[in-house]
């Protein structure tokens, strides 16, 4: 469903993503991990047609993104890291705008949207988006994406800003959608989420994909430790002793 070949993005001199090769199959939940500034958001932006890659190829659902950009955009769902919307629209107006732009089946989308609002406690659709908190916007964003039931979903740190209950609901929803055949690509900081939810995990550091596979495969490939946290830290080159020393000196 998602495939990249030698995907590279340079910002002036800085290489944000370097020769990335991914292959993610239908119905899979893929976790994309990496420290701050590793290139996760940049990768998602290229995969979803926001950014042009410097070089390399992307195909989503078997279609080249350069040639079929709008078609792909219509089919996928994306929850960006910053849930920014038009401040001077009311929540309900934004929902209606999205329904019309994507030309979805209104009846069905509305029914699904109402259900999602119920589980997320979204009861602020009459207010202007400019007055929402980060978490409120994030929930609305998730709801407007999920109501379309896209075949491929991209989520950039989706649980940031959500309260514990909403984060749990989101995890359950994603699990359900994957079981129903959606492909999910998500980045996260929270290793526990990746550990519990994702079938496969890719770890990116300074633009390079340094490890990829199931949790077991990651352990085998040289990551030391039981938990993902230990594997992640050792793979991204963090040294336990060194960190302890620094912390103690503070």
């Amino acid at each position: 469903m998602i495939r990249t070949r030698n995907l590279t993005k340079k910002f002036a001199e800085k290489i944000a993503v370097n020769n990335l090769n991914l292959q993610i199959d239908a119905g899979e939940i893929y976790g994309f991990l990496g420290p701050n500034g590793a290139g996760k958001t940049t990768t998602i932006k290229m995969l979803t047609g926001i950014l042009y890659p410097t070089s390399g190829e992307i195909s989503i659902m078997g279609k080249n993104i350069r040639k079929h950009e709008l078609e792909i955009k219509r089919a996928i769902g994306v929850v960006p890291d910053e849930p920014r919307m038009y401040h001077d629209l009311r929540g309900k107006e934004f929902v209606s705008f999205i329904m019309d732009i994507y030309d979805v089946d209104r009846e069905e989308a509305k029914k699904r949207f109402d259900e999602i609002c119920d589980v997320f406690d979204i009861d602020y659709l009459d207010e202007f988006i400019g007055e929402y908190s980060h978490g409120m916007s994030q929930k609305l964003m998730v709801a407007t994406v999920l109501m379309r039931k896209p075949k491929v979903l991209f989520l950039d740190e989706p649980t940031v800003g959500l309260d514990a209950r909403s984060a749990r609901v989101l995890k359950m929803l994603l699990r359900k959608y994957a079981d129903e055949g959606s492909t999910i690509f998500m980045t996260t900081h929270i290793l526990e989420i990746a550990e519990k939810m994702c079938e496969r995990i890719g770890i990116i550091n300074e633009g390079d994909l340094i490890a990829e596979g199931t949790l077991d495969e990651l352990r085998a490939s040289g990551g030391k430790g039981e938990h993902l946290e230990d594997i992640f830290l050792s793979l991204t080159g963090a040294n336990d002793e060194e960190m302890k020393e620094i912390v103690e000196g503070l």
């Binding site: 078609e71 038009y86 001077d88 309900k92 209606s96 705008f97 329904m99 109402d114 009861d123």
Partner: protein, 532 residues
């Protein structure tokens, strides 16, 4: 006091730093010129003083002199003092109308800046005074426009030198008094006015007062210098001398009438005391209106309309933007005021209407593009080409300004009964407005973007200057070229005259499109969005 001074200093620094930062970014490739800020202010001040205050003061002093000799029936005032009272009344009205919503929005309601200030270890009263000081400097422009009248009066009665400081003091007390009244009214109004309403009202009032000032300057000096000035003024004696109006207290104080001096200074002191009382209890009261949670589901209406969801959304955003109001009114009202006042001929008026419409067409679509950047990356994820996004905005703003342009022509036709030929320029103007709007959108998207900015700041600075320059050129190419007066001046033969009319606009439009076409390719627009 020390704290207040520090804050004021830091405010000024921020303003000047901001303009410097923007400049250095846009002039990165050019040679850096060190232009000291104070010199700029000196130039602006000198220009305003030399070009506006001094000549108008002299003109007004002559008009006042004429009225000095005539006594206002039934009062102790002369007609020129009635006139001064009228000006006082107008100053009062404008300052009140401006200050109240401005204070509600900027001082009483919560915004980013006050939340920051409140987190600092500064006394509440200091923050309040800082905000009030800001408002005062904001509305001082309106006051500055009335200076020539105040000065003109002083010259006309040959005011003794030792009375001048007292006169200045009277004016200051008058302005402070209004400020105090505004603050107190604002404190009450804030209880039932939401910050959004205050923001809109703020813009509307500012717009109206600018229009008011323009109207006053086009109408009053003419009336005052006319031979029948005294007769016309008689109707306003009651207003100018009404004992309950602060403007009358001001007038009385200038005339050294003890009871008015006591009233003016007493109530000024009282209202300052009121401000002080408010300031010590200052906290930002209203942030947003909380509605009771609605039971049941909200209904989601379809956006489907004649022009589709994209245009529909943009229109909604535009109409909710308080500043758009004055962008619609200016191109219509400015030329018409000029025409009414008889100070311009129809060529000048239409050139101005064309220029303002073209300029604002770009400003509106640039501002609408700002909303897309505000919603970035969500807006970039929509299954819409960037070209469509920009063209929708150009369609909206060119349609609006074409309508305004047509209305201007019709009203102008009605007043001066000539210039029907301007109707022929409408199709060209429509195309040019569309092109200008595209230019505005592209210009905004290609400039350094700041998401915490707002609608009207999208087209400020270098963008604004460039847009105005291009708008002027296009307007000359289309509007001016269609006046036969130009053809006369060039001593053209009939054949060339008939040729000139459609040729100049068509050449202008095509040349402009040639300039634009590389900038509106999908690739280029996408690159511009990427840099958001």
């Amino acid at each position: 006091m020390r704290e207040l001074m520090i804050l004021i200093k830091y405010k000024f620094k921020m303003w000047s730093e901001k303009s410097r930062r923007v400049k250095s970014r846009s002039l990165l490739t050019r040679k850096k010129v060190n232009f000291p800020g104070w010199l700029l202010w000196l130039l602006i001040g000198g220009g305003f003083g030399g070009g506006f205050v001094v000549p108008l003061s002299i003109l007004m002093s002559r008009a006042f002199k004429q009225l000095n000799a005539i006594q206002a029936p039934g009062t102790a005032f002369s007609m020129s003092e009635i006139m001064l009272g009228m000006y006082g009344f107008m100053i009062m009205l404008m300052l009140l109308l401006n200050d109240v919503p401005s204070i509600v929005y900027n001082v009483v309601s919560e915004n980013e800046e006050t939340s920051l200030l409140f987190s600092l270890p500064i006394k509440r009263s200091v923050i309040f005074l800082l905000k009030v000081f800001e408002i005062l400097s904001g509305t001082s422009l309106i006051f500055a426009f009335f200076l020539p009248f105040l000065i003109g009066y002083a010259i006309s009665i040959k005011m003794a030198w030792y009375l001048i400081p007292i006169y200045i003091l009277d004016v200051a007390a008058f302005v402070l008094l209004i400020m105090g009244i505004s603050s107190i009214i604002a404190a009450f109004v804030a209880r039932f006015m939401s910050s959004t309403t205050a923001k809109r009202l703020n813009v509307i009032m500012y717009t109206m007062s600018i229009l008011g000032v323009v109207a006053i300057f086009n109408i009053l000096p003419g009336k005052m210098t006319s031979t029948n000035a005294a007769g016309w003024l008689k109707n306003y004696i009651g207003l100018a001398t009404h004992p309950f109006l602060p403007s009358t207290w001001f007038l009385g104080a200038v005339k050294s009438e003890p009871r008015y001096i006591i009233l003016l200074y007493g109530i000024c002191a009282l209202s300052l005391w009121g401000i002080w009382q408010l300031s010590s209890r200052y906290s930002t009261g209203i942030s947003r209106k909380y509605k009771k949670k609605e039971i049941g589901k909200v209904s989601i209406a379809s956006n489907k309309s004649l022009f589709g969801p994209l245009v529909n959304k943009d229109l909604k955003l535009l109409l909710r933007e308080g500043n758009s109001l004055f962008l619609f009114i200016y191109p219509l009202v400015f030329p018409l005021i000029m025409l009414f006042a008889g100070s311009w001929n129809s060529a000048g008026v239409m050139l101005m209407a064309g220029f303002l419409s073209l300029d604002y067409s770009a400003v509106i679509s640039g501002g609408l593009c700002f909303f897309e950047i505000q919603a970035y990356p969500t807006s970039a994820l929509l299954p819409l080409s960037k070209k469509k996004i920009v063209f929708a905005k150009a369609f909206i703003s060119s349609s609006i300004y074409t309508t305004i342009y047509i209305i201007t022509i019709l009203v102008a036709l009605f007043i001066v009964k000539s210039g029907w030929i301007m109707m022929l320029t409408v199709p060209f103007v429509f195309v040019a407005l569309f092109e200008m709007a595209i230019y505005g959108g592209v210009a905004y998207l290609s400039s350094p973007k700041n998401i915490s900015a707002n609608f009207q700041s999208a087209m400020k600075g270098t963008n604004g200057l460039k847009t105005a320059a291009i708008g002027g050129l296009i307007s000359a190419g289309i509007v001016l070229s269609s006046f036969f007066g130009i053809a006369n001046a060039l001593k053209l033969s009939m054949f060339f005259r008939i040729l000139l009319f459609p040729t100049a606009p068509i050449v202008t439009i095509i040349a402009f499109w040639y300039f634009l076409k590389d900038k509106v390719t999908e690739e280029h627009l996408k690159e511009m969005f990427e840099k958001a």
